[in-house]
C-alpha cells in the first residue's frame, strides 16, 4: 500500500431523501442532498470538503460512514485485505469496517450522552470490539484522554462538567478509541471559539502524524481548510464543482462558485482590499435543482449552454497534481481579473 493510494473511492454517490406530502404520505419529490459525487480519498491525506450550509457536505460524510445509506452509487474501501464495497454490505457485514472509519461531530453539546460518565460513554464501543475486562477498558479510556491532553481522572465525570473544547476533545478521543484509519470530521471545530479551534486543530494534526490517520474534513470555514488540508473539494447543491490541491485552490481558482466562496474570506489587512464577489439570490432548492449547471442561476459568467447542459468534472493542467472543475467555460479566459487584487 502506497501512502497515496486511495483508501476510499466514491463513485456516483447519490443520497436522495423522499419528500412526502398529504394525508397518504405520497412521495412527491426527492431532496437531492448528494447528487452524484465521484471522489477518491487518498491514504494519509487531509481532504477538505467545503461548501455553504445545505450543500450536502454532512450527508456525504454520513454516507461515507454508512450512517445514511446512499440511494445510488458505491463507496469502496480499500485496505490491507483488498477492496470492499461498503454500500453493498448489510449491518452485520459492515461490522468489520466500522472499526476503520469514525466520525467527530460538530456540536459538542449533543455529541456526548448526558446520562453517562465519560467512561460510561466510551467503554461500550470498546466492549463491543472485544475488550473484556473493566480494568483494561479503564486503562484504554485513560490513555485516550491523555492522548487528547485531558486528565485521566476526567473519565469519571459527566459531560456537563466540561467546556465545549474539552467535550470536542473527548469526542475525538471516542473516535480514536477503536483505532480507525479514516476519521470524518464533521464541522469538528465550527462550534468552538477561535483560540480553542486552534488548539483542537493542532491536536488533530498531531494525532494524524502519530497514528497515521486520514481525515475527511467537512467545514464551511475556508481559513481552516487553508491551514489544514492537502486537497479540497468544493461542493455546491450536492455536487462537487471543484477538486484540487489546497494551495492550487487558493492560487488558481477555476470554478466561479469557488471564486465567490474564497472572496468571502475576511482578510485582516487594511491595505489589502479584497474584491468581494457577492452572489445574487439564494441556494436553489435541492428538491428542484436548476437544469444544466446547478450554479447557473447565480453565476456571473452564465451563457446559454450552462442552462441546458450539466458540466462534467474535467481535468485541468496544474503545477500540483490534478485540478478538477465542473464548468463549461474554463477553457475560455474566465478570470479576467485575478481574485484578490491589490488596490493601488
Amino acid at each position: 500500500m502506497q501512502p497515496n493510494d486511495p483508501i476510499l473511492k466514491l463513485r456516483d454517490v447519490q443520497v436522495h431523501f423522499p419528500v412526502k406530502t398529504g394525508v397518504f404520505k405520497r412521495v412527491t419529490g426527492h431532496v437531492r442532498a448528494v447528487d452524484g459525487v465521484d471522489l477518491d480519498v487518498r491514504r494519509g491525506e487531509v481532504l477538505g470538503l467545503v461548501g455553504e450550509s445545505g450543500c450536502g457536505k454532512t450527508t456525504l460524510g454520513k454516507a461515507i460512514l454508512q450512517l445514511v445509506r446512499a440511494t445510488q452509487g458505491t463507496v469502496t474501501y480499500s485496505g490491507e485485505d483488498g477492496e470492499t464495497e461498503l454500500t453493498s454490505l448489510d449491518d452485520a457485514g459492515l461490522f468489520r469496517f466500522r472499526k476503520r472509519l469514525q466520525i467527530v461531530f460538530q456540536d459538542p453539546h449533543s455529541s456526548l450522552n448526558p446520562a453517562f460518565t465519560i467512561f460510561g460513554s466510551l467503554e461500550d464501543p470498546l466492549r463491543h470490539y472485544g475488550v473484556k475486562t473493566r480494568e483494561e477498558r479503564r486503562k484504554i479510556v485513560g490513555d485516550l484522554l491523555e492522548a487528547v491532553n485531558m486528565r485521566r481522572e476526567s473519565m469519571d465525570r459527566y459531560p456537563h462538567e466540561f467546556s465545549g473544547g474539552q467535550r470536542q476533545r473527548i469526542g475525538i478521543a471516542r473516535a480514536l478509541s477503536i483505532e480507525p484509519e479514516l476519521i470524518v470530521c464533521d464541522e469538528a471545530v465550527s462550534a468552538l471559539d477561535v483560540s480553542i479551534q486552534a488548539q483542537v486543530l493542532q491536536l488533530l494534526m498531531e494525532l494524524k502524524r502519530e497514528k497515521n490517520l486520514t481525515y475527511v474534513f467537512i467545514t464551511h470555514d475556508l481559513s481552516v481548510t487553508e491551514y489544514l488540508c492537502d486537497r479540497i473539494a468544493v461542493m455546491y447543491l450536492g455536487k462537487i464543482v471543484e477538486l484540487c490541491d489546497a494551495e492550487d485552490l487558493y492560487a488558481n481558482t477555476l470554478h466561479p462558485y469557488s471564486q465567490a466562496l474564497l472572496s468571502a474570506i475576511p482578510v485582516a489587512d487594511l491595505d489589502k482590499k479584497s474584491r468581494r464577489i457577492v452572489l445574487q439570490g439564494d441556494v436553489p432548492s435541492p428538491v428542484n435543482p436548476p437544469s444544466g449547471c446547478p450554479f447557473h442561476p447565480r453565476c456571473r459568467y452564465v451563457v446559454d449552454r450552462c442552462k441546458t447542459e450539466v458540466p462534467e468534472l474535467r481535468r485541468f493542467k496544474s503545477a500540483k497534481g490534478e485540478h478538477m472543475a465542473a464548468c463549461h467555460l474554463i477553457d475560455q479566459p474566465l478570470a479576467e481579473q485575478p481574485l484578490r487584487t491589490e488596490s493601488p
Binding site: K99, A115, F116, P125, H128, I178
Partner: protein, 311 residues
Amino acid sequence: MTDANATRPRTRRDAQFDKIRDREAALAGTRQHTARFMSKFLNNRLAVVGFVIFAVICLMSLFAPLIAQHDPMSPNLRAIAKPPSAEHWFGTDKTGRDVFARVLYGGRVSILVGLGSALLSAIIGVIIGVYSGYVGGWLDWIAMRISEIFMSFPQIILVLLLVAILGQSLLNLIVIFTLTGWGGIYRMARARMLSIREEEYVQALRSFGLGPARIAYKHMLPNALGPIMVNITLSTAAFILQEAGLSFLGLGVPLSIPTWGNILNAAQDLRVLEQNWWIWLPVGATISLFVLSVNFIGDGLRDATDPSQQG
C-alpha cells in the same frame, strides 16, 4: 476574606457540600453510579419523606392482620356509624364494620391495582415505545396503530366486556388498566426517543456498529426516564381513583372486599358526608397521602437520575 468565611454561620448547604467533598475524596476514581444515585436520592428531603410515607402505608397494609383488631368484613350491629373511640380508632361504618381495619385491608387491593397497573403499563409502554421510536419504519407504524386502537376503545365498554365474560375480579381490573394505560406511556417514550434519536451521540454509537436494542435501551432510555417516572406516579394516582369509580359501578372489585375506592363510595350518601366524617375522611386522607408520596418519590427518582444536578 477568610474572616467573612469564618464568621458566616454554617448552613445546610455547607454541610451538604462538605459531605460531597468528603465523598468525592473517599471515592476518587471509583465513584459508583449506584452509590451516587442513592446519595442524591437520600439528599432530597421530599423524596425521603415520600418514601417513608409510602413505606409506612405499604407495610401497614401488608401486615394488616397483625395491626387491626377487627375483621374488616364482619359487621357489628351494636356499633353502627359510631365515631372514633378507643375500640374503633376510625369509628365504624353504617353496617358496623371497623373503618381502621377496612382502610388497612383496602390498601392491599388499592395499592396492588394502582401501582401494579401503572408499573405494568409502564413496562409494556417503555419496551415497545423505546425500541419502535428509535428504529422507526414499519415497526413504529404498527405499534402506533395498535396503541391508537387501544386508546380509542372506551374503557368502560372493555370493562363491561371482560366482567361479562370472566366475572368481577382484581386481575381483570389490572389487565384492563394495563391494556388501556400503556398507550400513554408508550407515546411519551416514543416521542422522547424521536428527539433523542437525532442527538449526535446516538449517531456516534451507530458509527461504532452497536445494535439498535443496545443503543435504544442502554444509551437512550436513561435520558428519557425523567418524564416516564413522573408519568408512572401520575397514573398510579389515576388508577387508584379509577378503581374507586369502577367499584362503585359494581364493575371493579366486589363491594364486599374493602378497597379505598369502596370505602370512599360510602360518602356518596349526603348524610354520611355531613354527619359521619370518620367514614370518608381517613380513607380520603390516606389516598391523598399515598398519591402525594408516590409523586415525591417520582420527583426524587427523576432528579437522582439527572446527572447535571448535584445532590
